[in-house]
Symmetry: D2
Subunit: 309 residues, 4 copies
């Protein structure tokens, strides 16, 4: 490997008033460690969004809504950057909470949790949610669930139906209005799920655990090319990864996580591991970005806005 | 805080031929950092198992079966230490794979993934699974799924039914035989799920996404006391945590994870955070053990075997 | 804690062409998890730089020069933002390497290390240094070291002397020219140290291991107020922390690290732990930012440039 | 790679009363993830200790003494398993503290640090040190330092001299009595260093920053083979690594750390990265164990005691 085959590291130079994308370009010129991975993540995401043949799957786990990332996620869906959204019940619940007019609050990771409990605050690291949201979710969902009785639903249909009834701008509403397939295999594992629990004590609701597989595999099969973006790991990442495995290998892959690979789980596994499974193409453009997503996402989103109309 | 209120750190002393429990006792005498947390994890797990009033919920995520922990998990269920098992589709799939006579293999985390793909190896860090398992799973599951047509199933019933048909000792078989409730909200997110996908192209299978909530919440409500053990985080941890939140606060909690709390997600959250949600009692005995579970579990299991008949 | 005592999380909104500082302000409005900590780190750093009574100590460990951060570090010193610089021998060596006209290169973390060795590349994750630098360092340092024979040196004086002889813009030269105290307790642990090893086979060089303590403690004692910034941990962090302990508690503290606190070491310890030692004031403004420094530093530096003339 | 070239994962089986080494053997049969790495770490350490041609270098950073590992470290030196010890000033200071009759105490990582400060406790995660140790260190060291005036010392000689004066069993005393070279490049960065600071206000102490390089490089050069064990990273790891780089490649390498490689620093770098530098042989037996050392060390030490007379 002679010198001219490797590029020099151009140290990052900052300028007063520089834009976010200009900073990411500097990181690209440096090209190594976190900065290099972040710049690469923006490049690959830009490529998969601009690639007209590419169906983009976004898998998201982790406290993004309590973490202040709600607006960014909604925009990624509204702007058409993301074609398929796979997420957790927690994200959809916190999104619904805000759509119903509640807020999340800036708290303290070292707070006295017993005192928070007495005062009605549910803590997620240094983010608080007032537990008065639960009656609010119930008041909203009860009539919606009642309207669902009598037919079978896939989880995706179930979620679009909820989104149809949400009045405020939100992840659920955007997916419903713009017909963006939203999958949440573990929807029962959430505040929304717990509301359904309350409902099904007295009513029958038929929502299928498996039928969404037909829809997501169909999308993956018919796509010309696929690109994946993972914020965190968990079920969303694996659900998309297995869709890739059983259809065609992804051509683009970006992963943002703080999980470690050594324990062997899917969440911390680097993207290249998927090549062995047939989830990722041998020549796919991929990157693993080791970074808290509440730092990476804003930087990436702002930079992408400068690059994409 | 005068001196006599805190205990001295008694440095760990090892002895040739000492048993695992003797080593854990030494760690207890040291009582700080990883050693202290590991010793406390054994103490609290021992306490919740020996407490006749306590219903023990085990939530497990991560590559425990590909990680060599299958026997330990099966024994924890067989021995009656665990009353409720919540896990991932991946764990149940890998368990089924071994039950069908296949094995996982010792590989290399730095392997050439394209070469592994060509040779038919699916990599999970340094653990390999031969992809010939997929036809094997299909051959086994097809008749079982056929027999499930025509009635509705909860996921727990679905899993016991599979377990009933598994001939070899396995997690699925043990849960089925000993009537241990096994919950897997995201069962569609797995190899088993993908087999179902193949099946439902031509058949109708009615498995409910939500109905298990009635069963797990019922168990949590009727339990006199509850104890939780989390190996990894993800859906299993949250599914149990929310059951605690909507029934009674857990009295014992042990978490083994390598996830970080700063990104705010549930997986890396310390147990005490659950106090704010009402998931854990103010005076609960709890510990967060920062350790790879394939190291912690064997040590804990061997030590517990010395303490529990 | 009534609602009006906590602030709502204002979700981060990105705008096309927004500056880095504008993005950080958005993160401040969100105020939680990584984004909140990053915004707070910028605020506290801004405060300590603008505080005319505050002496700012920067402790830096980790591969910042091979990581493309050299220009940013030089500017932080040149601009007068940092009053005292404590670093590792590795940083000063890599800085010298670039000052002598060599470069670091963009490589691959999954490279074949044996092949890299044969080809003369020293790897630091995905950053490469050509090992032809060693003769270069020797050619430069030999005459400088020769000129140091015959008197005693503190390490700080030793480093300023090297810096005096460096022709190109560099950390060493800036510290020397602007008389910025630069401390490196473990200078022997570095490429520069190894050059000295070669030199002292035949010559006597008297550099004191301890005498710098007088200088740094004197600076800490006479400072009206102190502020500390830690990039990584190790010796630089501890050397400054102990200076705080034995003089006055720091009033401002910012830590950027990916190290964990559970193993108990100083590197991963949160800033508040220093309060117990008297290293940090009870009311000090402090933050722990869990982030790769090659991502955090550029963002912070660009944002600070908008805030500070 | 046909099946017979890879080994099956034999799931870990625990037995009541099994010894620590028996458990490690089980982990070896599983051979993957943390368990596999831990087992391999024991195997490689055993090999380098039993190899009569091998000079074993132990580099140790992190809070091992406050973490209850003092006895194990002393025994590793006493038993002749370790030929060269490179450590931090913190370890030697905490060791001296205990040698002088003080103890470390079991505390709480969530303690109120301001209260601890008022009560005189210095916190290291959940380990406490009473700050009354400082006068104790001073009383002990003053006469020893006085006796050192008037000649030049290398740091290693300085440390053996202190060890000569320590009456109780300790790391310092063992190194001194058994003439085990102990290196601590950053000795000034410690409580011992701060005592020297107090001393040199009025006295002159000549301790060389660089001269130890001659001794450690000489040991590395004359060794037939070298093996390295790293507990944590920092200066100890790098000081040994560079000695390997400038003498002969190590034949055995074991690293126990929780640091991450992505930020690019030496501390989290995997052992194989050293192959590119010539620090590790192409065919060296090496392993990276991702584990808290207060868990790994006791397990490894107990297992090794069964294997080594």
């Amino acid at each position: 490997m002679k010198n001219h085959e490797v590029r020099k590291i151009m140290h990052v130079i900052t300028r007063r008033g520089m834009t976010v994308n200009e900073l990411v370009k500097e990181m690209s010129g440096s090209g190594v460690m976190g900065a290099g991975s972040l710049a690469r993540a923006v490049d690959i995401t830009e490529a998969m969004i601009k690639d007209k043949d590419c169906t983009v799957f976004l898998g998201q786990a982790g406290a993004m809504v309590p973490g202040g990332m709600r607006e960014i996620l909604i925009e990624m869906l509204e702007s058409g950057w993301v074609d398929v959204f796979v997420t957790t019940g927690a994200t959809l619940t916190h999104d619904l909470v805000e759509a119903l007019g509640f807020s999340h609050y800036q708290g303290n990771a070292d707070a006295d949790d017993a005192r928070l409990h007495r005062e009605g605050w549910d803590r997620m690291y240094d983010s608080y949610m007032p537990n008065e949201v639960y009656p609010g979710i119930e008041d909203f969902l009860s009539p919606v669930l009642k309207g669902m009785v009598g037919r079978e639903w896939t989880i995706r249909e179930f979620l679009w139906e909820i989104g149809k009834n949400v009045k405020s701008r939100s992840l659920l509403k955007v997916c419903s209005e713009k017909k963006i397939p939203v999958f949440c295999p573990a929807i029962s594992d959430s505040g929304i799920g717990l509301q359904v629990w309350g409902f099904i004590q007295k009513h029958k609701l038929m929502v299928s655990a498996f039928d969404d597989l037909k829809e997501i595999l169909d999308i993956a099969w018919t796509a010309k090319k696929t690109g994946v973006i993972y914020i965190g790991g968990g079920v969303p990442k694996n659900y998309i990864q297995q869709a890739m495995q059983f259809s065609k290998q992804a051509a683009y892959a970006v992963q943002i996580t703080t999980d470690r690979p050594e324990p062997g789980g899917s969440s911390g596994a680097p993207m290249r591991e998927g090549i062995s499974w047939g989830k990722l193409g041998y020549d796919a453009k991929h990157v693993d970005l080791f970074c808290d997503a509440t730092i990476a996402l804003p930087v990436m989103h702002a930079a992408l806005k400068e690059r994409i109309q």
